[in-house]
Symmetry: D2
Subunit: 244 residues, 4 copies
């Protein structure tokens, strides 16, 4: 695996997050990269009773002999609407950088110029800017400043994070209101700054979520609520079930 001797070179010497990075990127991350990467996975792991967590619990209720089925059902909701922001933000930022001229050390004002053009373009084409806004955190997503701090501490505050920060500064000029940079979006920026392939960013969000779903299944095992959820929904509909 990875050109290494699994037993002697990897086991006990490589963390699990580090291995996941290595398997996808094809190169071993530095300790700094590992810290940022694991912070992203932690940030994305669990978000309470999301639709995907409920789907996993109900599938576990129906087929408790197949943990793999419940986990798969939970991951299948990892699509455009609830888990796509990370990759969408990474792609938006990478696309903007690809068509702009920039250097890592240019001043904020120059980043703002690029950001302003990108937000205006999106607006003109009626596209959303991914990573802006959050249904609960109306002012600030607490994950955002923490991930910026970690990336700075580790010397990994790169162009995607810089551009995303600039979007946070300039978007009110275009959109007419101030939205927070959400955590899923900043995770996408941070992963892109780690040089990970944009097409696989959703994959990391799914890996993180896999841990979260296992947590839900373990909790469902200890303290089941799936049957209550089922009955609550069933009672409130016009359907007459023919069979439980």
């Amino acid at each position: 695996m990875l050109g290494q001797d699994l037993a002697h070179d990897l086991m006990g010497k490589v963390g699990f997050g580090e291995l996941a990075f290595w398997l996808v990127a094809g190169r071993r991350p530095t300790p700094s990269e590992t810290r940022v990467f694991e912070a992203v996975l932690v940030a994305l792991a669990d978000h309470g009773f999301t639709p995907t967590a409920i789907a996993a619990r109900l599938t576990y209720l129906s087929a408790p002999e197949s943990v793999q089925g419940a986990l798969a059902a939970g991951l299948l909701g990892g699509g455009s609407r609830f888990l796509g922001v990370t990759e969408d933000a990474g792609r938006f930022l990478a696309g903007t950088l690809a068509s702009s001229t920039w250097t890592d050390d240019m001043p904020d004002a120059d980043w703002d110029t690029i950001a302003l053009a990108a937000v205006k373009d999106a607006r003109a084409e009626r596209r959303l800017v991914p990573g802006l806004g959050h249904p609960v955190h109306k002012q600030e997503d607490p994950r955002t400043p923490v991930l910026y701090t970690i990336a700075s501490e580790e010397g990994l505050y790169g162009p995607h994070l810089r551009l995303f920060a600039a979007i946070g500064r300039v978007h009110p000029q275009v959109l007419g209101r101030t939205l927070p940079l959400n955590g899923a979006g900043v995770c996408g920026a941070a992963l892109a700054d780690l040089g990970l392939p944009i097409d696989m960013l959703r994959g990391f969000a799914l890996l993180a979520r896999a841990a979260g779903i296992l947590g839900h299944l373990a909790e469902e095992r200890r303290d089941p609520i799936g049957m209550d959820i089922y009955h609550a929904i069933d009672r409130n509909t016009a359907y007459i079930p023919d069979e439980a």
Copy 2:
């Protein structure tokens, strides 16, 4: 496909249920067999807001671009607890027949003798007799007499259905109370009498359910309730979601 010319021998000449039987059994069913088989699929197709239907709707809510993911999530709940009765009943009946001596035309009293021994054995080993009882239909599952009638009309009232009927007559002697023969169980008996492989009976229940889930997804598309389900559950838990 099936040694036939798909376009000229099958399209427009073979029904979809007929084809499904043919693909699995490796032989074309007679019209009588097709009628019983399709009655079973219809009986198993949809049962309101089952956990699997809810899982499918929530997955569709999260990833509307992937109908295949929502359908798969719904089918993954087709395990031991909510969709296993059909196969379990077929297996129980087939196993009992394999270890008993019987003829198709023996009188009910002889079937009762076999059934009584089988129910007593199950009781002694603390195993459930699959196909007995229903959470809603406490007296009679309306599907049961209808499927018996159809099988009789078509000359397909075979040993599995006979044995299952005998179980319906004798189990109160052993269990001390009278339970209805449920529809999922009688479907298993009918499929086994059609000579279909026992190991694939759950597969037919899943095929039937696939149509039911598509019905749910179409309804979710016209008249979405997934978001309400999500919010209702989310509100009633102690979790604080970090992200929608």
Copy 3:
């Protein structure tokens, strides 16, 4: 279910394909509609060792206790590349009709005008015209004329099929070569002419494929080849497996 008494109104009286149409469309199909619909399902059910069939067989090999998992794995390949043509064609045709002026009984020449404009537009935007071409059938997909005949016989040769036929006539003028109308595309046109929701067309392809996958799993059970497939692939790669 469907405002009907499942046991008395549906079982034994409604075919399985008919029921699937009814569940999705919210209305009972006529016998003519049912015949076209089932011809489509038959046309789409099985296509040999597609990637999805192989994925289902390998999953069954790995987890034979979970038929639902193998079926789900097979359906998850039902995405844009191998199973998307049906819906893509339906959407292309419906979109063209929505932005054109037409009557059911106008002459072929008028359909050709609409078709020519649509193919030119697609070409100009470098989009593929879905439903054109087939990897095996270079001259004609045998399913295509058969489905046209069935639709005509049943009085269901509507605007989507007419427009698709016109595309078959005019596209060489734009593309510079003659491609056959493939069966998956004509299925999309026929389903759209049945008034079924475009967003659910992939769902019908998946339902058809579910029957095909069950056929593969039954065959894998009788005559397993999954292990051979696995070993054949494994032998031809540079990987050293650490564990089977």
Copy 4:
């Protein structure tokens, strides 16, 4: 999450493996526990072209727009046959311990007595002893001594690992040949010694495998082989595909 402030208490301070342990077990692991746990995840992450990896790659080939579907398809093969050993071994060991009298510090000879009885019982009931034997490593699975060493170094060489080692010593007396203790089995023993719930051991194997599958998908993206696999299989079968 976990009664902690996600942003301030967890991000950047907790590794991803540590978080996964915490979410499932409901308690934070010690650094020693984390090291053993991550060594297990690393040991189980990737095993070359397993059936599950092939299923994931073929699903990605068919539906490249849905990474979640490809990942789910790969996980669905995580059933009894190829990924079940970890949980099976943990359950076998835990069951034996539950019905035996033992202390952590008793001499090897006493562990051998318990192990001998357990292997004899399994043999008498014609059950396999999970964790014995490996298709490639006929003498020794290199992961086994490494994980024993790590567990010893961390003071986590507990009763499940002791009993498993004893099985390694005594089974030739009963089975008449010497089989290696495989890595998947020793992982199950190590997880059980960490106090993790036996019912969730397959879940950890799935989490590890999720990282391995993402590695396969990233490689498939860089250097695709799915189409070659498909064509190789397709060419070697009697099927005539109707459609690619």
